[in-house]
Symmetry: C2
Subunit: 413 residues, 2 copies
């Protein structure tokens, strides 16, 4: 394929992670060094920055300062949860994006995010193709949910999983320290897929006694019985639950006992939260035990101080590969990982069609969950353990993380 | 003073921390190496282990395995919150303790804990003195609350403070990432003293916009106005609150809007929690903004993976000093720290009378809090920053912390 010269836009979208900036750095550094790319722009708050003509001039950033991005959590360029309409219904946003691409001669678009972001990426790619505007569009995956199809795992997952496993180990030590009974319920992110909650099992002998994923319908009576059995045997019980656990009718357990009010985000997803507190109240009422609910909240996705160096290195490589492949002629693909674990862990980059990835959710295989649906089997451990290896090389300043301090100078359009 | 030969008991009490086992290790290693000490026992679950004649034989532990205690969170010997009665009212517990001490020829008693534990320690010391039983009793401080009188700071505080400052930095990155308004309320432990909440200020440019400590009466209207001002200016606001904030009448804010039920622990303290959720609901109602409440919960006291090495080293030294001083003749004292910060940070060990330390709470000085009562001044930063220096040397195994695995063999009495 012939060389395509032009500017590039890099955008970040969806919930931030500890590793999304590592991918951004991989893409930014590769773009800055690539002669086909004439200018490197960062979209302020993802696709919203394109629509609003708010682009950062990344050529103006200091290279040494940029390099700290690898160890800076959250999305340095800002994120959004804006959902593009179906172009067959309303193509106004797409025409605006095309206008901006033409204005800045953008020939490369790199979008870094989860399912919804790959959907955005896919729609833009198809629109540009249909309208004959030559622009190479590449998706760079990112999600602590680890639910993107086609890839062995997703950038961001390993770091979040390391946080979850580490914190579960620490909670195990703490929650069992008194000579009185105690049930601890830990709520972990994951709306439809239980990958992150499964990571609690990586804590091995310090793992929660019971782990519930949304892959298996949650039955309150069975859960209460399971918990009671462990509690009566040990005087303690630690239970990990995915925020998205739901009963056989699909009703979220987080909504049990909550009277009325439900909120939905702009993608139409029900906003979850408060599950640990809800379950704690139910367990307390049924067992009479002392119960504590713990929600990892934002920390599970932004605790960069305990990021997996494997995850950061792979995330960086994914960002770099997106640029390298695009400038070499590839378009309409997402960078993914193809891994083998038979003779040690080996991870290779792969290119996946965007339309297959977009909006397909990959679940934890049922055969990795025990028959009772309250624990993980060795299959998952073998899968997950390599992803959390390596301590972050994050630089410290005054005993605290040193984050990238970018200038973020807006392009005067 | 003449040499006193006999066994020693080491006990841990109160809420666990990331550093209490470092102090235990300092005491255990010094005791194992000291010729005056004939046997080294660990009390199972603090003073309860003495009362119940449940002692671990620490001479039977592997020394290399023991050394991992320095990096193992929570209380390895188990903890309790048992409160001894006033010996003038009911001395049954004290007579039982004396009986056990006589049974095992215990001549050294080291008790590792916070205010209530120093009170226990003090009462035992005075009872033994009064009853003419020669036993040297030493307190080893520990509390993430940092509220023990007489000492510059307390073992455990630096590590918890490092967790709080680090997590606040990460939350700052995450909570500001979207292009929509958001108010984040972070709840940090601290019943009567705001030391740990103050540590949020160590995050510097990434610190919460507003920080409220229990040292200043909390006024809901002023708080709502403060928050609104920040939110209207920045579109975001991050607020840190101490769990113990209360209004001018002494009513805990956590109890606002909570109908009825209040629980108290065995020391008569009101059990707090749910403050972040309570405040989030109030702020949401008043401002209409999207509000998120985050509770650090147990993690702030057990997150050993982000412990301060300074704290661990000092905690170890405090445990060792207790044994060294006791065998040299000292009794009825707590080991404390005397520090200077004028020409760099310098920390020396000091011996403090137990009865002064017991049950006196040290608060954050008013002059370190800004006049508005919603932020910290440089005086606190200069105080706190040296305490969070140094990354933990915790060993990792398979990408996760390597905790001590003790045999904990019970002494056959």
């Amino acid at each position: 394929m012939s060389e395509l010269k032009g500017a590039c836009i890099i955008g970040q979208s969806g919930g931030p992670t500890s590793a999304i900036n590592a991918s951004a750095l991989g893409a930014i550094e590769a773009a800055l060094d690539n002669p086909s790319i004439t200018a490197v722009y960062g979209a302020a708050n993802g696709i919203r920055g394109v629509l609003d003509d708010k682009l950062y001039d990344l050529d103006k950033e200091d290279r040494a300062e940029l390099s700290h991005l690898k160890y800076t959590p959250s999305s340095a360029l800002g994120s959004c949860r804006y959902k593009l309409k179906d172009p067959d219904v309303d193509d106004a946003d797409y025409r605006r994006i095309l206008e901006i691409f033409q204005k800045y001669d953008v020939r490369y678009f790199f979008y870094n995010g989860g399912n919804d972001s790959m959907d955005t990426c896919n729609k833009i790619s198809k629109f540009m193709l249909k309208n004959g505007y030559e622009c190479r569009v590449m998706g760079i995956p990112k999600t602590i949910d680890n639910d993107l199809a086609g890839t062995d795992h997703c950038p961001g997952y390993g770091s979040a999983a390391k946080y979850v496993a580490t914190s579960c180990m620490e909670i195990y030590q703490d929650a069992r320290v008194y000579d009185i009974g105690m049930i601890t319920i830990v709520e972990i992110m994951g709306r439809h897929a239980g990958w992150l909650t499964a990571a609690a099992a990586l804590a091995g002998p310090y793992a929660p006694d019971l782990i519930y994923l949304p892959e298996v319908p949650f039955d309150m009576d069975t859960f209460l019985k399971d918990t009671q059995v462990v509690y009566e045997k040990n005087g303690k019980a630690i239970v990990a639950v995915s925020e998205g656990i739901h009963d056989k009718d699909g009703k979220f357990i987080a909504e049990y006992g909550v009277s009325g009010e439900q909120t939905k985000d702009s993608f139409g997803h029900t906003q979850l939260g408060g599950l640990a507190a809800t379950l704690a109240a139910i367990v307390k009422e049924k067992t009479g035990a002392k119960v504590r609910g713990i929600e990892f909240s934002l920390l599970q996705r932004c605790a960069s101080h305990v990021a997996s160096q494997t995850d950061l290195d792979e995330s960086y490589a994914a960002g770099k590969a997106a640029v390298d492949h695009a400038t070499a002629g590839t378009t309409d693909k997402m960078v993914g990982f193809k891994c083998t674990r038979d003779c040690g862990y080996l991870c290779e980059l792969a290119l996946l069609p965007l339309d297959i990835v977009a909006n397909t959710e990959k679940k934890v295989p049922r055969e990795w969950i025990n028959p009772a649906g309250n624990g993980l089997l060795q299959g998952y451990i073998d899968y997950g353990l390599p992803l959390i290896q390596g301590e972050t090389k994050q630089e410290k300043e005054n005993g605290l993380p040193r984050f990238a301090r970018l200038k973020k100078i807006l392009v005067q359009g």
